[in-house]
Subunit: 190 residues, 2 copies
């Protein structure tokens, strides 16, 4: 066989990311690799299985990259956490296309953001940023970058859409309380 | 006309969320509302336009809900930010289906998470949680909930996929540095 599993995954990932999952056929994938459809079938019975393999593959590589970067216990938790966060960001940027496909599902990069959406989003983020900037000016908040704080707070809230269980024991506002406490006081021991 | 814009948007949102954008036709939407396809066309020329309208609509309502909840300046920035975060979480939970559709695009709730993916994700989050728990035990970190801190840090990193510009002036690791500083020291003035 001249079409190894990884070559197929890479080609499929690229097609999914740029054209979306729905618009990509097994034939497109075979064509991009330069093999027959049967050769692709040999490794993957359906497009869905290819997608799942891409996701599992990139998550595994993310894990390997970050765990290799984190220094041993002796370095202390703040340094270890900081290094892990940097390694994650580094991996994300090095694998941008695949990573976005993974995290945003079948739509991939093809989702179009309308001008309306952009305007409302900007206004919403500005509301948070203004609250923070006002607090910095009043001396209630540390002299931080208001844009970073606003974005950090909204990121944590928005990412809830990926793991929150509407039938779970805790309400969404309770998680918001946890995040606020963490943001307010920080995690370093005083 | 007996099929107001909002009824169409609500029905379409429900179909997109449960079956995905690709699998939903204008005819399905008309059927769910109980009108003819022509009635839907009267308001929306394409499915894409309906999707954009749903997104703009829910973002507008989120903005209205949160801005109405935030108390005036006199309440102080910490209280105002905390209230805004809670109001956001509350809105998200009240509008769960629509909200997930909005944030995760055309795939909606229909994205299937394989067991492999779940296992690797869990292991990755555990790595972060362990770093934090070890730091709490060692007295380097505040006695926080390690799961919340791990999830908060990963949420901020993961959400970068939604706004990071690979061609922008700053690298992903620089944003990771910003987030780490904010997490480490907190935002309240000392």
């Amino acid at each position: 066989m001249d079409a190894p599993r990884e070559t197929i995954l890479r080609a499929a990932s690229d097609l999914f990311a740029h054209h979306g999952f729905a618009a990509t056929s097994l034939l497109d994938i075979a064509g991009a690799v330069g093999v027959s459809k049967a050769a692709v079938y040999h490794y993957f019975p359906t497009k869905q299985v290819i997608y799942e393999a891409i996701v599992a593959d990139i998550l595994q590589r993310l894990y390997d990259h970050v765990s290799a970067a984190v220094p041993p216990d002796g370095a202390g938790a703040p340094t270890r956490l900081h290094t892990a966060m940097r390694a994650h960001a580094e991996f994300f940027e090095m694998n941008y296309t695949e990573y976005v496909t993974l995290l945003h599902g079948f739509g991939g990069l093809s989702r179009v953001v309308s001008d309306d959406e952009r305007t409302i989003r900007r206004r919403y983020e500005t509301m948070f940023r203004t609250i923070i900037a006002t607090g910095i000016e009043a001396g209630e908040l540390r002299d931080a970058n208001a844009a970073v704080v606003a974005r950090g707070a909204l990121s944590m809230l928005n990412w809830m859409t990926r793991w929150f269980d509407p039938k779970g024991a805790r309400r969404a506002v309770e998680f918001a309380d946890d995040y606020f406490d963490m943001l307010a006081h920080g995690i370093l021991a005083p």
